[in-house]
Symmetry: C2
Subunit: 500 residues, 2 copies
């Protein structure tokens, strides 16, 4: 063999691969360093694209949440809900949630937020933005928490424009996980099991999610503004003082005689549970074993030599290999079958409750019609209140059937009991007023149910569309002019609604 041939062979088989490996290692080290470097990002920078300049992988993966764009009209699937929420926004419109990138879009589009015509109109308070955007901690910082929580939802329409993003969970200087909503810190400290100051990094990987995926109410809070004028804020508050369970929170609300609204048919002082995801998750076996939300919903992925946490927050079932498979050894089909059975069990009991509760509200309405007295009705209404609360607590966080299947089923069993207790009482009242055989009206479709509760659906839709074509467009324009809005992050976000 010629010497040059040998040199060539050595070059091809040894030196070049080594050189390429060297390049690759260097590239990986550089990439990893870029990730580890602390970049210059302004405090409360709410435009995620700005953070994305330094964290392209996290940002790109976050942008994939746009793919979760399906509209799933829950009222259509389960018309009993319309009756259960009569007099409350959810009876108008309620879709299963889409990806994080849709947080603002869907909040603005839903019929629940109504059709304000200026900063001081519309059905909702400012608090309804609180979970939707990194503009919220920015505003809280700028205005103070009480001021932020004062006034109508429309007040911040030209300020809160960027969907859930980097600044919601990260410190702009250290990039460390941080809770940007103080009400979570206060609630943890009041509950006492885990003081915020003691939270580990692993616990923060759930707690940053718990800022939004938790039960809350708007606590009426008086405060005095800079001009010495009395103001009223509706401050997002987690009712955790007695503990995390359905019963503990129920007692919390009962002690305060709090009601989210008065039911339009049954006149019950109602509670609306708002996705107690964190509270239920920690009762389940994953929570008990110290698994964090991010472990399954934001798994570590590899790109070349770089490892980072995917910010495409989604169901682990869409990426079983990088999530479940880290601990478990079943195959995808078996996994999905097990999860499906959990979902089926929840659905079975949940639908039992909703059917009973819708009937109970209608029976109560009939009893009122017939002249039942407040004294007669009170025990039944208390059962409705508790039954619906326990049901809602159990299922409002959509993942609870998986995160905490046992606590979910226990809660639903308890809800069935309370709701049926209400029905026993109501039927006896109806019997007393000679209408024992009263047949409740048909609520078997969304349209029929909305007719039963006399919801002016078409009017609401018409006004909403006017709002979307008018004031809403002004908001975006104004926010863009102020340099607040980051059009990139929501580029390609799909406009979809359940109406129209």
């Amino acid at each position: 063999m010629k010497k040059s041939t040998i040199v060539t062979i050595v070059s091809v088989t040894v030196i070049i691969p080594l050189f390429l490996l060297g390049l690759s290692i260097n590239e990986n080290i550089a990439a990893q360093e870029a990730i580890n470097a602390v970049p210059k990002i302004a405090k409360f920078e709410s435009r995620s694209a700005e953070w994305g300049k330094n964290f392209p992988r996290e940002y790109d993966s976050y942008m994939l949440t746009k793919k979760s764009d399906k509209i799933d009209d829950v009222l259509k699937k389960e018309p009993a809900l319309v009756v259960m929420w009569a007099g409350y926004g959810f009876s108008k419109d309620y879709n299963a949630p889409r990806g994080h990138a849709y947080a603002i879009e869907d909040n603005v589009n839903t019929l629940r937020t109504g059709a304000p015509v200026d900063a001081n109109s519309g059905p909702m308070p400012t608090a309804c933005w609180t979970c939707k955007s990194p503009d919220v901690p920015r505003l809280m910082d700028k205005k103070g928490e009480n001021d932020y929580f004062t006034g109508k939802w429309a007040r911040w329409g030209n300020e809160i424009v960027n969907p859930i993003g980097c600044a919601d969970c990260h410190d702009n200087e250290t990039m460390k996980l941080t809770v940007t909503r103080d009400y979570l810190k206060r609630a943890l400290d009041a509950e006492g099991s885990l003081k915020y100051a003691d939270a580990s990094h692993q616990e923060l990987r759930s707690l940053v999610c718990a800022q939004c995926h938790a039960e809350y109410y708007f606590k009426m809070t008086e405060w005095t503004d800079a001009n010495g004028e009395k103001q009223k804020a509706g401050v997002v508050t987690f009712p955790w003082e007695n503990g995390f369970s359905a019963e503990a929170m129920e007692a919390y609300y009962d002690q305060r005689e709090f009601a989210d609204w008065t039911h339009a048919l049954s006149k019950t002082p109602m509670l609306k549970a708002q996705h107690p995801g964190y509270e239920t998750f920690i009762t389940g076996i994953h929570g008990q074993n110290g698994v964090a939300c991010a472990d399954c919903h934001m798994p570590y992925v590899r790109e070349g030599g770089v490892k980072y946490s995917s910010h495409n927050v989604r169901s682990p079932l869409e990426d079983i290999e990088n999530t479940c498979m880290n601990c478990h050894s079943k195959n995808e089909k078996e996994f999905k079958a097990i999860v499906q059975r959990k979902l089926d069990r929840k659905n079975e009991l949940s639908r039992t409750v909703t059917s009973i509760l819708a009937q109970a509200h209608l029976e109560a309405a009939r009893a009122w019609e017939l002249g039942a007295t407040e004294e007669e009705m009170k025990p039944a209404l208390l059962d409705i209140r508790h039954g619906q609360w326990r049901w809602d607590y159990s299922i409002a966080a959509h993942g609870s059937f998986f995160h905490a299947p046992e606590e979910t089923l226990r809660g639903l069993g308890s809800a069935i009991n309370k709701a049926q207790d209400a029905r026993i009482k109501l039927r006896l009242i109806l019997a007393k007023y000679n209408d024992a055989e009263y047949v409740v009206p048909d609520f078997s479709s969304k349209e029929k149910a909305q007719a039963v509760i006399r919801l002016p659906y078409e009017k609401l839709v018409e006004e909403k569309i006017q709002f979307l074509n008018g004031l809403r467009k002004d908001w975006v324009k104004q926010a863009t002019e102020k340099g607040l809005f980051d059009p990139k992050t929501t580029e390609g976000v799909v406009y979809k609604v359940s109406y129209q």
Copy 2:
């Protein structure tokens, strides 16, 4: 150093240990060979002590089931059960089960089996022995299955004397696991998910348990004896034709208009669920992962170099290290806390159901008293039947809260719904007969509840004691004379009852 010193040192440090190791290995091999050897044991040898001669470790560990000797009076803990079982044996006496060594003792002592005075008297059929003893497959083989299942329980009092033992699950020649009750084979084949002929060794490690830990009823079966005379057998039958779930078995019984008994108060055609342990276990995560009953209840243990399956069948919580810890890594305290929460959840929903059902039976009794018609009562009684069945299915296998917590809670939720449906209907009937406010009698203690159902408790106890001092003693004497009874196996078994 002297040569002899070196020799001594070498002897002490090398040769002697090697020799001892050799001895130990030989001993282990001999022990293991003894275990693996196929001994001469007669077919259907029902005296476990005979098997124990060849399998001392298994036999000794089996004998430890005598330590599970606590009497836990379930009726005392939950008096509502007395009302729910009015007219049925369980309202007389119901204790949580003790160890396998107590199977005959407790069957003979319970007030449920009554106080026969001869082979043809007493409340129970022969079938009530079926799960209690290896004398059962011996008798089935000797007499034929139909003959075995014909007549009164007392017919076999001097034949069935040895508690659950070796011959219930093992082939006498190969020692292989074997199903000795053909009704399990027939039921598996009818259900279809797992044909008996296809069962693997690992599946048999659950199926031998499923011979007894399963739901059954006594199917009335006509047959003709050797003399050409028509006979009626009550053949233990598993109602699995439609599947293993509560609803599938409920449909099975409904299709046959089968009732275990007619309720003494409500006159409902009732179903009694009998510990569907296997059916619920396979729905849980351990079952889904191919864990067998024996993995946790009969773990492999080591004695020196010998490894064998402990036959001290008991809760794995009593030996977490050899059971749970094979797969899990929590500590004992954490394990027990997790299991306790599961138990608490079950207890909560179960007690909700029992309270509702006891009331429903009493309300139904009142409605009958007031002159309600069969037509009026039928829908409510059907709800009671289904509600009580679903409750019983969910909890009658004591381990279901752990084996299948989700299926258990689902079943209980569904039971609450049915039972409350019954109450709605019954209260309306009471209202119709002008007794809407009827207050059910106090059933808050076992004594009060037994008075409510007019149970002649003292008379039952008196007769029972006569039986135990009379006929029962004759049985043991006769069995001993026939060489059937093995006094060793039950030596030291503690006589304990809930009465006296």
